[in-house]
Amino acid sequence: MSAMRTYSVAVVILGGALAVALLSLLPAEHALHVPGYVVALLGKYLCYALLALSVDLVWGYVGILSLGHGAFFAIGGYAMGMYLMRQIGARGVYGNATLPDFMVFLNWQELPWYWGGFNHFGFALLVMALAPGLLAFVFGYLAFRSRVTGVYLSIITQALTYALMLAFFRNDMGFGGNNGLTDFKDFLGFSLQSDATRAGLLVASAALLSLFYVVCRMLVGARFGKVLVAIRDAESRARFLGYRVERYKVAVFVFSAVMAGLAGALYVPQVGIINPGEFAPANSIEAVIWVAVGGRGTLVGAIIGAILVNLGKTIFTGALPELWLFALGGLFILVTLFLPKGVVGLWDRIMARRVPAPPLVAAPVRQPEAGE
């Protein structure tokens, strides 16, 4: 894809978010006013889109089908949640200036050591990126060095997120157990209830998504990206050419996990809660479906897929909530069968039909195989 198209995608995301953000700040009686819940919803979609982008980078370009990316998203979210909890201060139900409500409720006397530093946003930001990155590094180092690939890798990524879910459900972990972290008041001193803060978070999500989209595009367009696709398509060939496949996989997996973590971090203030349910294996699988629907290995498809499927989910769960999972499963089957390249592939096909075929040089002709 040309640099022009790359930047235009980024501009559309950012421009669209800015426009919605500005419209939401109009007086409520104005005809073009966008209600606050729509802003929060869009912000949520953009965070999901960033998660989908991170999944597409590893699945679409390196062939690592991670069914556990929701874990990195949730860990980033918890890091943000811890910061937001500390921001509440003495305004909690129990009025304790240091301890979050759930700790007071559990009769804890002091803040666990790992909650230290979370009153500083800079420190929390580091953890939002580094904690998922570190987990991805340890997991990736062990899995890729042992050359675990394919369905086995997918299964252990599921186990990873499931194990974390069980751990975070426990009260004595110190992350709010079942209820998670909620009742947030402020983010960086701005009230989370105000329209302006919501608008700001939407723009921040769009900016982060655009930034990572451009970075991913540059990454896959460069020689590094060619090595990744080479590993995806013929791993042993790449090894015998001298590439340390596991190092490339670990590097991309960690980068992808950081993206997912930051997506989760921006998600939490916009939905107002983070709980162990975010680690549910089904969440990670859903992210893979967004990518498949949009078009695997296209990056832009991940963004489109995440937004489309979640828009569908919002509408569908409003009308027929109990049928949503069936619809999602059906969608996945239909896309796999009829749209192997997703919405982006469909779009390319329509455009190819409308524009007259380019001259013969560009159209490769399949030659009969020698020896056939």
Binding site: L219, A222, R223, F224, K226, V227, V229, A230, D233, A234, S236, R237, A238, R239, F240, L241, G242, Y243, R244, V245, R247, Y248, A251, P364, V365, R366, Q367, P368, E369, A370, G371, E372
Partner: protein, 249 residues
């Protein structure tokens, strides 16, 4: 480690067993620098396992495997052995199908493979020149922009040989290069390997006897994981044991 041999490739007493089956049985195989060697043998004789041992894919249970008399191939992994200067062509042509022919060669060019170096690598003029040169050698200049997946079977085989050349290895291991090729392509491939052999050492595993004859080099016959006979093709074809296990069938 002190040098124990002048040979470029030195295998001694190499044994590999899979669940009790000895794929290689105290195999000894020595290739001198600059030599071209053909390896023949019936299916299951251990030809591919031998390649796996040399390239670090399979660890032998016993035995010595040295490159240039000093590098212990049993201790290194595939990427390290490739960097050391051993290139391998697979039996089934294996190229990066979704990349163009030139990109396939670009990725194969000798250079630093560390992720942080590759991250900022830009194609240089000398790299482009080297790619053009290899395209000429393997006669793929006309299809350079095509995706490798769209090439014919024979063209893929040649592309893979081109990728091997791009690595600038000292030793090339070539597994059945003419399988599935037409007679004309087979003759061209023999010619190409002879040209490559002017500057590099080559080991060819092949079933096609016409091709082996055309190469006109020393032949090693493998059988049940060991060397059965070694010498010129005429010499080994006259050996009654070779006739019995292989040629006679």
């Amino acid at each position: 480690m002190t040098e124990v041999t002048d040979a470029l490739l030195y295998l001694d007493g190499v044994t590999v067993s899979f669940d009790g089956f000895k794929a290689l049985n105290t195999l000894s195989f020595v290739v001198a620098p600059g030599e071209m060697r053909a390896v023949i043998g019936p299916n299951g004789a251990g030809k591919t396992t031998m390649m796996d041992v040399i390239t670090g894919k399979t660890r032998p249970d016993q035995g010595t495997a040295l490159f240039r008399g000093s590098a212990d191939l049993t201790k290194l992994d595939e990427a390290e052995i490739a960097t050391l200067g051993i290139g391998r062509k697979f039996q089934k042509p294996t190229v990066f199908e979704m990349h163009s022919v030139t990109d396939n060669l670009l990725l194969a060019l000798k250079g630093d493979r560390a992720p942080r170096r590759v991250l900022f690598a830009r194609e240089t003029l000398s790299e482009r020149a080297r790619i053009d040169e290899i395209l000429e050698t393997v006669r793929l200049s006309a299809v350079r922009r095509r995706l490798a997946g769209e090439l014919s079977h024979g063209q893929k085989q040649w592309l893979e040989i081109g990728m091997l050349l791009a690595q600038e290895p000292e030793l090339l291991l070539v597994d059945e290069p003419v399988a599935g090729m037409t007679d004309a392509e087979t003759a061209d491939t023999a010619d190409l390997l002879r040209r490559i052999n002017q500057t590099r050492t080559v080991v060819v595993v092949e079933h096609d006897m016409t091709f082996v004859r055309a190469l006109d080099v020393k032949v090693t016959v493998l059988h049940e994981g060991s060397v059965l006979a070694e010498g010129s093709l005429d010499h080994v074809s006259a050996d009654p044991r070779v006739v019995e296990v292989y040629l006679g069938r």
